[in-house]
Amino acid sequence: MRYIPNSPEERQEMLHALGLNSAEELFDSIPADALLRGPLKTPAALSEIELLERFESLAAKNAAARRPSFLGAGAYSHYAPTIVDSLIQRSEFFTAYTPYQPEISQGTLQAIFEFQTLVCQLTGMDVANASMYDGSTAMAEAVLMAERVTRRSRVLVSAAVHPEYMQVTETYVAHAGIELGRLGVDAETGRTAFDDAALDKTVAAVVVQSPNFFGCVEDLKALADRAHAAGALLVVVVTESASLGLLRSPGACGADIVAAEGQSLGVPLSFGGPYVGLFATREQYARQMPGRLVGIAYDREGRRGFVLTLATREQHIRREKATSNICTNEGLIALAATIYMTTLGRKGLQEVAAQCAQKAAYARRRIAAVEGFSLPFSAPVFNEFVVRAPVEAAGLLRRLAAEHNLTGGLALSPFFPERPNDFLVCVTETNKRGEIDALAAGLGTA
């Protein structure tokens, strides 16, 4: 096998030097009846040429990857500068382990420290961790953390949070003694409808997403004030981190915890993963955070370096009393996001956000002008919005794909059966005007 340095002859020599006759003897401690008889029924080895052909032909079956698309809903088509992928492919980054030995892991550690800072800057929060698996698990961890911080056990989640995020949270908290309540959606604005009655002293946190699943920008400031008045935390979920280039930051609105998906920041769609969860909070809650944290440390000569810190929150020290079970996180994706954010920089992040919003506004105008189509929600949006079709949306979108080679958006019916004709359209800086025009035209005829 070409990845194994020691040749069969070398291995035979090594075996002999150990006093063994065959490789089988290496496994003497395994009970004979537990040993595999015969070879695995997995395929025989492929050469590089064959392997690439194989995967290319599988990839070719993913027609959706080649089509102009208006899908968002938690995963966004943004353009990542070429250097993002080249830099993360340096062996020094991608083949390193978690930085347990700081003297020879300063590259990773400094990059994480920069990542933490950038996440704070974007979200407007004080401290951020080294990453979570993704936005959905970040939200679940935020709910668990809110319980730790407040010692209260009810959590109210907006119905306009990404349905899959809600499902993940339900799984995570199922055995944590947390009760999840729901806040409805205002049918007119598309924003979370606040039910003051539900907000009593048992509520640990109010969880909203902004822009929410329907694309509507929530009034976070108002939500924060109400949550805080009841002694609850405001957890803000962000699936479209590009919006942070334009929207007031959750921190500035009063959020206590921000749980975001960082995929928009230079990470390929890759059929849903790997992405990167961003997790940030206020300074006073830092020791309640899940996940790794990197902090500044100095050596004996006073030179600045970086180390994993506050490890007493973590599983390898605290075991079942840890703030989370997370160990491996999304290091390399966090690095990609860091490189993306620094390459775009202050102006670039703003420009991407502005273009997304501008193109979405244009798309809204074009689509609203199509006979029979309307925009059911009135709240301001960033780059996603719900369209109401005169016909059943799922079928319409399939026809659009087949006849116009366009992925027009996401039918809401699988998540919201009561919305058969609604679909979610997402526009980013990568959608050209021509594509938007084609979408509007296609909707008119599909």
């Binding site: 020691n6 290496l26 595999l36 695995l40 392997l51 995967f55 290319e56 599988l58 990857a65 080649r66 899908l71 938690g74 088509s77 830099l87 340096r90 980054f93 991608f94 083949t95 390193a96 382990y97 978690t98 003297e103 020879i104 300063q106 590259g107 400094q110 800072t117 936005g135 993940v168 055995h175 920008v217 400031k221 929207l247 500035a252 769609l269 890759s270 059929f271 849903g272 993963g273 020791r287 944290l293 902090g295 440390a297 050596d299 030179r303 970086f306 009393k321 989370s324 160990c327 491996t328 999304e330 390399l332 994706i333 775009l344 920089g345 202050r346 670039g348 273009q355 919003a357 506004a361």
Partner: protein, 508 residues
């Protein structure tokens, strides 16, 4: 440092924020190609940022490249040399797998695309599932968990759901249900943490002087009647195969519990023995260990969960299934523990793992296992005269030593680890498992040749010599890095977790 040392620019690269210069720009977008909407119409001012993203750096593209290239050189990495972190399986990360993951038909595929337009991706996942089932001997699989700990959580939640369904306990009777998870004291910290997250009470099982699970203690604990199951790592974190595995499974099963196996050490077993054949009910695999998907400085990982057909109904949704020639995403599983992650797991890692499996072929998978175990044996054999080896059994893919013989001169595991750096090696895993004092857990993997193993052995022996003759050199190591040992205690006392302009620093 002596006078020869200078403010070497690549060794003293600042933080990216400290490098920022107002007005620099590393990015260009195509001009906006639609009519511009006035900003206030787009979004009312009170919803817009007011801070102009202050503090976010401004840099040209070469600034960014230089910054990250410079700091990258401060990292050790597999492509440089042996990275023998025990329990981490730092094997060769093939560039071919990276290339596969970047094929546009995968990289540009949206997770919510119509399944009919994403058949290739589903086929990849389905094929990987089949191979992992064959490798583990456990037919039910979900690729959704994003890492080992995530797989653990998923697996123990499945155990819980299974037991509740089996035992028919209603919510009201909650407290009567099986809520004890047994975990050896040698286990990785994620095991108890995951069990806790799933609402279990953790009870530790002692290890024997041989480094194995203490059967007597296990039987004792099982007798209480509230045992939901056992989480076992095998080979365990001492690198020893639990040769009583069948007996262990029998005890737990007879006590009404299930056996969870932490598959972090599957690199000792692939193609040689299958957990399913040993009596294990559910296991997670670390694709970022055994199946070589790169660690990336701390992730992404992928922690698929494999289980018996009895447990299969409880796997997370959606499941990737096959119907004739078509692949589907199936969420109609009423007994599922639910969803543990948005979308379907770390698909990019699935691609790499499948590429690994196909590149090796079935014989290559076994060959890798044999080579990995042989390399660990070689180290065990070469170093057992020099370092204390707490357990006699020949190791599987990793070998455990301690610093017992070196502590007399005040040299501890940490010092040995740091001194290894000066020889060009990454240290082994240290102070884990917790059951021996001064643990040094060495996992060479199959990706290293004899000559380099020999160099490692010599470095270790040299350090042992130094520990006697010149302890200071070891105690003050490393000497060859741009910074020395960092004061971690001080860092944790007053943590600075982010950069701030001027002197504002975050403390928590």
């Amino acid at each position: 440092m002596d006078k020869k040392a200078t403010p070497h620019i690549t060794q003293n690269e600042a933080l990216i924020f400290e490098r920022s210069q107002t007005g620099r720009c590393g990015y260009r977008l195509p001009a906006l190609d639609v009519e511009e909407t006035p900003l206030d119409e787009l979004l009312p001012a009170d919803l817009r940022r007011e801070d102009d993203l202050e503090g976010v750096p401004e840099l040209s593209e070469p600034d960014v490249v230089r910054h990250f290239t410079r700091i990258s050189t401060w990292n050790y990495n597999i492509d440089l040399g042996l990275y023998p972190l025990g329990s981490c399986t730092m094997k060769y990360n093939s560039r071919l797998n990276e290339r596969v993951a970047r094929i546009p038909g995968f990289a540009n595929l949206h997770p919510l695309a119509d399944v009919e337009d994403a058949q290739g991706a589903l086929e990849v996942m389905h094929e990987l599932q089949q191979h992992l089932a064959e490798i583990t001997g456990l037919p039910g699989i979900s690729l959704q968990p994003a890492a080992g700990a995530h797989g653990e959580m998923t697996g123990v939640m499945m155990i819980r759901a299974f037991l509740d369904a089996r035992d028919g306990a209603g919510v009201e009777e909650g407290d009567k249900r099986r809520r004890v998870m047994l975990i050896p004291d040698s286990a990785h910290g994620t095991n108890p943490a995951s069990a806790h997250l799933s609402g279990f009470n953790v009870k530790a099982i002692r290890s024997t002087s041989e480094g194995l699970t203490d059967l007597t203690h296990l039987r004792e604990l099982c007798a209480s009647g509230d045992v939901a199951g056992l989480m076992l790592t095998n080979p365990n974190t001492c690198g020893i195969f639990e040769r009583n595995i069948r007996e262990i499974c029998r005890i737990v099963h007879e006590a009404g519990g299930l056996v969870y196996m932490d598959g972090a050490n599957m690199n000792a077993l692939v193609g040689v023995a299958r957990p399913g054949d040993m009596g294990v009910d559910v296991i997670h695999l670390n694709l970022h260990k055994t199946f070589s998907t790169p660690h990336g400085g701390g992730g992404p990982g992928s922690g698929p969960c494999c289980c018996t057909s009895e447990l299969e109904p409880f796997l997370p949704v959606p499941r990737v299934t096959r119907e004739g020639e078509r692949f589907r995403l199936d969420s109609e599983r009423p007994q599922t523990v639910g969803r543990v992650k948005a979308f379907y797991g770390n698909f990019g890692m699935h691609l790499r793992a499948l590429s690994y499996i196909l590149t090796h072929g079935n014989d290559g998978l076994r060959e890798a296992t044999e080579a990995a175990v042989l390399n660990a044996r070689f180290i065990a054999d070469s170093l057992s005269d020099t370092f204390d080896k707490p357990f006699d059994s020949p190791p599987m893919h990793e070998v455990l030593f301690t610093d017992k013989r070196q502590t007399r001169k005040g040299v501890h595991t940490l010092d040995i680890a740091k001194r290894l750096i000066d020889f060009g090696f990454h240290p082994m895993t240290i102070y884990f498992p917790l059951i021996v004092q001064g643990a040094m857990l060495i996992e060479p993997t199959e990706s290293v040749g004899r000559a380099e193993l020999q160099q490692f052995v010599e470095a270790m022996k040299e350090i042992a010599r130094e520990a006697i003759e010149d302890a200071d050199t070891v105690l003050n190591a490393p000497h060859t890095t741009r910074i020395g040992r960092l004061d971690e205690a001080a860092a944790a006392r007053k943590p600075v977790l982010r950069w701030r302009p001027a002197e504002k620093t975050a403390t928590a």
